[in-house]
């Protein structure tokens, strides 16, 4: 395992020390592994918290700040945080306007956030609403299974809901906007290599030199299908076509197109992929209103990419464009 780590079990705690040192505008509760916006709680503002397993940086800690999240709870590597963390964060960021929980649809995340919400309801008077992201078209959606994974849309949702909260909208409004983002977004990913979980010390799965794993999530879970390595053009089609077909996105729609790196893929390849993705999207008669290219929701050191398309209205675009000041996304301020 070739990583910059000390004891593999201390990675999360030590990375949090680094985040705290590098970003004095944040406040990090190391005991509870929570990253707070320095000025939380903001009077009158709906609080937004998220959280999840670590290993997806900059998500979620890199999205804490004005215009986005009030707090992020860091779980162990690829392991959802525990209810105590979300409860603590919920109490801390509530200013009376209520708190939105942004939860990615994984069994562990959903159960731990559920327990936190139950505790918040019984122990505190905080008004909590949850929004669950489940945008990964690689997974069959069925009420008989764990359902689709929450992936790239989570980033876009946290930005857009964060802007709505910053504008002083009510918890119900912010939650509805968040739900509509999730409803209008779809993603799909591909891995060229496995990731290596530090505590495991070796790659989670093995891939041949000429293979790639199509439909991967962000935890090194194997994907739906192993297929031969292909040129970027073809990979883009393998990712975009199922996304377009799923919503479905239609001629005349306007979208935010997001090409994301999974951690080990450099920016030059992401821009090359964006070119192919944009070509296909535009070829469908879909207009690209905004774009985002970079590694924002990662899977440790996995080489790979995911594509997210979000159908946008003028309102969603305005919220996307609204000022944001976090470690990972920053504009307008």
């Amino acid at each position: 395992m070739k990583k910059f780590v000390n004891d593999p079990n201390d990675v999360v705690a030590e990375a949090l020390l680094g985040i705290a040192a590098a970003h004095p505008e944040l406040r990090v509760d190391h005991a509870n592994k929570i990253i707070y916006r320095g000025d939380a709680p903001r009077p009158g503002k709906v609080g937004i918290i998220s959280g999840g397993g670590s290993g997806h940086e900059p998500m979620h800690g890199g999205f804490v700040g004005p215009g986005m999240l009030d707090a992020a709870c860091a779980g162990e590597m690829f392991t959802s945080p525990v209810p105590d963390q979300m409860l603590e964060a919920t109490k801390h960021v509530d200013s009376g306007a209520g708190v939105l929980h942004v939860v990615k649809n994984y069994t562990g995340d959903v159960m731990n956030f559920d327990m936190a919400a139950e505790l918040a309801a019984s122990e505190t008077g905080v008004n909590v609403r949850s929004v669950i992201t489940n945008d990964d078209v690689a997974v069959e959606d069925s009420t008989w299974t764990a359902g689709r994974r929450g992936v790239g849309v989570t980033v876009l949702l946290e930005k857009i809901a964060g802007a709505a909260a910053e504008q002083g909208r009510s918890l119900a409004e912010v939650a509805d906007i968040a739900d509509s983002v999730n409803a209008n977004g779809r993603s799909m990913g591909v891995a060229l290599t496995s990731c290596t979980v530090p505590a495991a010390g070796k790659p989670t799965f093995d891939l041949g030199e000429d293979e790639m794993e199509l439909g991967v999530g962000i935890h090194g879970e194997p994907g739906r299908r192993r297929v031969p390595l292909a040129p970027a053009k073809e990979i883009a089609a393998l990712l975009v076509e199922p996304i377009v077909a799923d919503l479905p996105f239609a001629r005349g729609d306007r979208v935010l197109a997001f090409v994301n790196g999974l951690g080990g893929t450099p920016l030059i390849e992401l821009y090359l992929m964006y070119n192919e993705v944009a070509r296909i999207v535009i070829g469908h008669g879909i207009e690209i209103g905004r774009s985002l290219v970079g590694s924002y929701i990662t899977s440790l050191d996995m080489a790979g990419t995911s594509v997210t398309l979000l159908k946008v209205t003028d309102e969603l675009l305005a919220l996307w464009d609204a000022p944001v000041r976090t470690a990972a996304l920053r504009w307008g301020v």
Partner: protein, 226 residues
């Protein structure tokens, strides 16, 4: 006091389980790597290490209910992921089901395990054949109850539960996952043993070790104990 379990034996059970989890940490993680995210062993071991630390530092544990509650709370607060709420709820519900007794008799133990199973279902909505820890726990609880109903000793019933849990665990290999992270794999989940069911089998193995045939609670020696 035949066929009853003291708080001390319950503690030995928990500690024996913790030791088995530690010994099998890598194995459990490897199972999870095949159909999940390669952390189940790490998760369970982090939780059970915290549980043992809490037991070590607690003055004395008043009752089975208090003990199980402490174990459950510790797991919920330290494990995370799917197994944190699931194994946490398992113990929390056992605690509630124990009621206000100082020693658990065979019927009480069976009721506690049944409540544990119901708690897991309440949390995770798993059904038979979904390829989860449920598939090891459900047959074990059934076997325990059946053995006691047939007049068997607690020790024999726990052995039967362990055997049923192992069979249930083994049966998960052929199943197509419909819950948890493994469900993302669809057909590709077939052929791999479920990590959570494997942990349940270890929990039952620990129980069989600390509740020996002659149910003298102080002479029993847990499997894997030094």
């Amino acid at each position: 006091m035949p066929d009853s379990i003291s708080c001390e034996v319950l503690q030995r059970w928990i500690r024996a389980f913790a030791r088995l989890v530690a010994d099998n940490e890598e194995y459990l993680t490897r199972l999870d790597a095949s159909i999940g995210d390669a952390d189940h062993g790490t998760n369970m071991n982090r939780g059970m290490t915290a549980v043992v630390a809490a037991l070590d530092s607690a003055e004395n544990v008043a009752s089975p209910a208090a003990l199980f509650k402490q174990v459950g709370m510790t797991l919920v607060s330290t494990v995370g992921g799917a197994s944190g709420p699931l194994f946490g709820t398992l113990f929390l519900r056992m605690g509630t089901a124990c009621g206000d007794v100082e020693v658990l008799d065979a019927g009480g133990f069976a009721r506690a395990l049944r409540a544990a199973l119901e708690g897991v279902v309440a949390r995770g909505k798993a059904e038979t054949g979904d390829k989860t820890m449920y598939d090891a726990l459900a047959p074990a609880v059934d076997a325990l109850e059946a053995a006691l109903d047939a007049g068997g000793s607690l020790a024999a019933a726990v052995r039967a539960a362990h055997a049923a849990g192992v069979s249930g665990r083994d049966a998960t290999t052929a199943m197509l996952a419909r819950k948890g992270r493994a469900s993302y794999l669809g057909e590709r989940s077939v052929g791999h043993q479920d990590p959570g069911a494997t942990s349940v089998a270890l929990l039952l193995q620990a129980a069989a070790g600390v509740i020996p045939a002659r149910s003298d609670s102080s002479s029993g020696s847990a499997s894997g104990q030094p």
